[in-house]
Amino acid sequence: MNTHIRIQNEDFDVNDELEALSSESSHVGAVASFVGLVRGDDKLTSLTLEHYPGMTEREIKSHVDEASKRWALLGVTIIHRVGMLAPGERIVLVAVASSHRGAAFEACEFLMDYLKTRAPFWKREDRSGESVWVEGRLSDNEAAKRWR
């Protein structure tokens, strides 16, 4: 199985990524994907993301390994942006290729839940004149717990 993990400032092209994943193997019958965007809530001017280089890649890789033990996967692409992002911009892509949709859907959700609760990223919301670090949400922890 091929795994592509990228942490980057620049945007990504969802179609290019899904096409690349689709052509990883002739056995691919399903590609499920999730794209996370910056919500323009409450006069948000920008969202700034920082991460822990090295640990981030390692942590994501370990979750992909875990997912590939649970489901028969043919390919995984995870792209997470860092730096300053404007409302409406893409933050994250999780895409999973498998022979059948069940594994693709479930593994995609599993990886997203773990990204939210384990991967070392932090978001800061910038509004006119003030910056606030986003606090971890209990509901995200609950979402991750169901996979244990």
Binding site: G36, L49, E50, H51, Y52, G54, M55, R58, E59, H80, I91, V92, M112, L115, K116, T117, R118, A119, P120, F121, W122, K123, R124, W133, V134, E135, G136, R137, D140
Partner: protein, 83 residues
């Protein structure tokens, strides 16, 4: 040892990374937290409330009970909020 800080922990401490000599007698993250708390106002604000912190040792999630040594990289940060 190397200490690294992220998000508001980094801002309150006033540095993203620093090197310190692990004082004799300290062998766990908990002990290190108690030591760091005494280093100044910014540190006190961060380390007086360890329940708000998460820890990684050599880039892997760890608990406050975990053992540490002088060659480790220990990171302190708030609960993660990516995705």
């Amino acid at each position: 040892m190397t200490l690294v800080y992220f998000a508001w922990v980094r801002q309150k401490v006033g540095a993203s990374e620093e090197t310190i000599d692990l004082p004799p007698g300290i062998s766990t993250v908990q002990g290190l937290i108690e030591h760091l708390e005494k280093r100044g106002a910014g540190y006190a604000e961060v380390f007086a409330h360890p329940e708000r912190l998460r820890v990684a040792i050599n880039q892997e999630h760890a608990s406050v009970d975990a053992a540490i040594g002088d060659t480790d990289e220990v990171a302190f940060f708030p609960p993660v909020t990516g995705g």
